[in-house]
Subunit: 154 residues, 2 copies
């Protein structure tokens, strides 16, 4: 059963998908990870698109999971703090951890209200493809710290 | 003539290279950008590798350029602040801007001493492939702000 899930709004675009697929493959050797892709809304305004996408995201959330929303206004943490937090959810609390990445329009208030953690990867604005890639790399890096694989250096 | 140059220590690995090449192509329509690749040192210790790579990096630096070193301990700035700073170098100061990305061993003190700016992309540790991709995306995003291309949203 999946222990980590990434719910994201966007489209699979090569060569980004090849990169995240490779990280997924490596992570899967240690922890089951999966993705749920939500197609971007085609409503006219950003507000309507966010509302539309929020409904779809909310329908995918389940009770007892830890929900972590990626948002630029969130908390910025180091890789090591991320690793400690992630494995605390997985191993101490025994909770599946769900990461949520919105579209370039942003993330809805109703989704933010369901967040156990709001995480910012950077003060900079990144495309969702880039955010997803960074997230996968940080999860893989955490797995490497946890299982003593030579990859991460402080 | 190149207005932006990226000096980086690493290896061209597909599919990362396809992504940065695509950004480079898009940026080049507006501003000339180029790369200098430095092969990672194969010395035994990290300290020796850093020293080796620093000598090679320093040999590529030229007077009158603005040197910006990427380092996790540097300044974290927003995309908009990055854009303002970059175009101030390029258009007001009329200086070529050189970005320097070290290997996973880190960046040498002698290179840091040549920096006009030390920039941190995040509090997290990223691979050099990921750092380079983020840098390209931020440069492209800045070009989009400058030339009114619909890509960046706050």
């Amino acid at each position: 059963m999946e222990k980590i899930r990434i719910i994201w709004v966007g489209r699979n675009i090569s060569p980004w998908t090849e990169i995240t697929r490779e990280y997924s493959k490596r992570i899967n050797r240690y922890i089951k990870i999966g993705e749920i892709l939500i197609k971007p809304s085609n409503k006219r305004s950003a507000a309507l698109r966010i509302e539309d996408e929020s409904i779809k995201i909310l329908s995918k959330l389940e009770n007892n999971d830890t929900n972590c929303v990626l948002d630029r206004e969130g908390e910025t943490i180091s890789t090591y703090t991320f690793y400690k937090w992630l494995f605390n959810q997985l191993e101490e609390k025994r909770r599946r951890t769900v990461f949520i990445i919105g579209s370039s329009d942003g993330i809805g208030e109703k989704v933010l209200a369901k967040a156990d953690k709001i995480l910012s990867l950077s003060k900079m604005v990144f495309s969702y493809q880039l955010s997803k890639t960074i997230l996968y790399e940080q999860i893989y890096r955490s797995v490497c710290i946890r299982y003593g694989i030579d990859y991460h250096r402080e």
